[in-house]
Symmetry: C2
Subunit: 446 residues, 2 copies
């Protein structure tokens, strides 16, 4: 018989569409939610279940980070306020050319800590040495859509491209029936992958019924580079190659024309919107109101913590709502409900996890507990507004995935934070040596 538990709290926020339940409860059997409602109802129906009481707290569907490069937390802050190409070619690529398997593992653990404390239960990642990301993620227990970044030039991770395809195929086979880890075929961009490489990726994804994950139309430089090479805009080129399909997760989509938005909607493409990274790198502001209007499934992503510089989906919700209100001078254009959906159920759908993102019977028990004892979360007139506009990373006290606690009362149960900190300090010293050897660093300055 499956273990039955009840979580009871001052508030239960099931999803954007349903008003929050005062003095609510969630009943869970095994990994699944069986009931949500007022405490009295749930407790009397499931009187034999073990009860966990969260006084002064709020239960919310676990958040989804729809795009990141988790291991890059080890590079957080090495360079700031620079144009994308300078940042990449002068700082990120020189360090990444020395990248070690072990750095990826510990960088991922560092990022997992931050994501857990920000209430994230599910994330999507593309990087180098992705098997190390998988290893760290499986150990810690988050759900994820993961893939080795593929590009035409040799990779510090896998070497020549054919090895990258071999690795991706192995991963696709190894994780075919894994409920927590799914594999995406992950070509990097249309300017680092040739049309032939993209076609091969599409074919491989189709063969395994797997998602395809690519950066698309991030900034004007990408658009002009792709136009120069192929006389087509990025969305147009990917469409011609057969990539615009239901299994595509397209990241950024900043530089879209109206007809391209219609095309993405028509082809049921999923989008990962990364507002803070797009701002910080000077890429621009994606047409989010139009994408939502067209009913595109849009999730929220932080992008890599070297360009963000955090892994905080609370902050992305707030930014995603605020920026369009200000830009369009219309405070109603994107609402708290819109961004909460993007951070939960739409994000989960964008990563092809259809039973995560709402607290309703039949969904997995993937959830967070927000601690309203932090006085910036008082008074509690409006729980949805608190979660979207006032909550901070670090105010999440507990996290549950598939019915199992990953964090309890601010303590992560599945990793050793002190050990991660020590390892990250060691890696930092190695990276500083590389930076000092390779070029004159502007470290300790922004």
């Amino acid at each position: 018989m499956k273990r039955g538990i009840i979580l009871a709290a001052d508030w239960v926020l099931c999803c954007a569409e349903i008003p929050p339940i005062k003095d609510g409860a969630v009943a869970i059997e095994g990994s699944k939610i069986v009931s949500v409602g007022p405490q009295q109802e749930v407790l009397s129906k499931y009187h034999h279940f073990q009860v966990y009481s969260f006084k002064g707290k709020l239960i919310f569907p676990g958040l989804v980070n729809a795009h990141t490069h988790a291991p890059m937390s080890i590079l957080r802050g090495i360079a700031e306020d620079l144009p994308l190409m300078t940042w990449l070619t002068k700082y990120i690529f020189p360090v990444e050319s020395h990248l070690k398997r072990e750095w990826v593992y510990w960088g991922t653990k560092l990022s997992l800590i931050e994501m857990i404390k920000s209430g994230i239960v599910l994330f999507c990642d593309m990087y180098l040495f992705e098997p190390e990301v998988i290893r760290a993620t499986e150990e810690v227990g988050l759900k994820a859509l993961l893939g080795e970044g593929l590009f035409d030039f040799p990779s510090p991770g896998y070497g020549p491209l054919e090895k990258g395809f071999e690795l991706t195929k192995e991963l696709l086979e190894g994780f075919q029936n894994n409920r927590k880890i799914k594999i995406a075929v992950s070509p990097h961009t249309l300017y680092t992958c040739s049309p032939e490489t993209i076609k091969k990726c599409i074919k491989l994804a189709d063969k395994y019924a797997a998602p395809l994950h690519i950066h698309l139309a991030e900034n004007k430089e990408e658009v002009s580079e792709v136009q120069k090479r192929y006389e087509k805009r990025p969305v147009e080129l990917l469409d011609k190659l057969g990539g615009l399909k239901e299994n595509l997760l397209a990241v950024h989509c900043v530089k879209l024309e109206p007809k391209e938005i219609d095309l993405l909607a028509k082809r049921r493409v999923k989008v990962a919107h990364c507002p803070e990274s797009n701002l910080k790198l000077g890429s621009g502001i994606a047409p989010l109101p139009e994408m939502l209007q067209a009913e595109i499934t849009v999730g929220l992503g932080t992008d890599g913590p070297a360009s963000n510089n955090d892994l905080d989906i609370f902050s992305e919700m707030r930014t995603a709502a605020l920026i369009h209100k200000g830009l369009r001078e219309d405070p109603s254009i994107i609402t708290a409900k819109d961004v909460f959906s993007m951070a939960t159920d739409l994000g989960a759908k964008a990563l092809f996890f259809n039973d995560t993102g709402k607290l309703l019977p039949g969904y997995r028990a993937d959830l967070g507990i927000l601690d309203l004892q932090h006085l910036s979360l008082q008074p509690d007139y409006n729980p949805l507004s608190l979660v979207v506009y006032s909550a901070k990373a670090g105010y999440v006290s507990d996290l549950m995935i598939d019915g199992e606690f990953i964090m309890k009362n601010y303590h992560i149960l599945t990793l050793d934070e002190e050990l991660v900190k020590d390892k990250v300090q060691e890696i930092k010293e190695e990276i500083l040596l590389i930076l000092k050897k390779n070029f004159s660093p502007t470290l300790d300055k922004c």
Copy 2:
């Protein structure tokens, strides 16, 4: 003899212009900083001082919140995603018409808790029943520039306008030589105060050599209303009335034309830039790069916590930097240094506190301690980048004002958090009753 202490930490960030000091120390005598430098140097020079060691932490100049309505935290979240006029007239004003002196006192305490935990040592406030804001602030020990909001219609705070002027005069006299609390003459706006009222305010401020604090050019509605009434844009009208002077703190300044920016610079007007409130209320995006280019003294403000919905200057720094990078598609246009200055020394200057905002000899010991044990602040390649782009409200462990600890190891020494929480819950119930009586509320929904 004055008490001498040394604060030693992994990093000391003195100000935006000076690279952070690794293993640094700050020596303090009474309320003033006497020395800043590497630990070895400071410890040997001031060997008789008592040493406080902050291992794994960073010392930074206390942050400045250049504009808020602190008591409005008791209204946080009562209505969201609405146009400014609907939000004001349907929700805020109906509740404020029942405003009680006691609500202002406890609302301010609630906000002071949040500000302390966000590293704020100095703030500027304009509201109703401002003497209650002053009382709470004096008890807790923050520095502030405060003023009763003045407007032509009767105020729930002081009644008819002449009583408002009497109150302001009393406050100006009472706090003339107070180092921690300064009083500003605070006309609300150019559309709620007649030209005669504004002139009277200017005269009163001049008489007491006090600052003048006003909302100016916040949104297009203000500009068109002022133009309709006076055939002048707001900046032009205030100039004609004699208000554009060195003692003016102009809040928002979103809708500025290039020649108005030049005029503000020429007249040495101070500006409080509130990027998140301007976004959230759909007011627009202020021309920050141009204001900084013109060398205007610009501080950063949260605006009221009912429209923000927090009192977090870390978040305002990040937003102020990010939004212009994205909007202008230029990641260098506003840097970490720019926004850190705005949140510290420029903010302090904007509030006419000239010895706050830097950790240098001669400045007051107004500072915060950031806890780098939070792993989203690792690795620590670049302390300024961590403070601006990665730090969160709640990661500040200690706060010192005029050489006295206000918060020590996350515990606020000068108020009782539990009592504040209980009082705020009681007030919330009263406000809910008012909302329910007055109109059909859309509470529990955004």
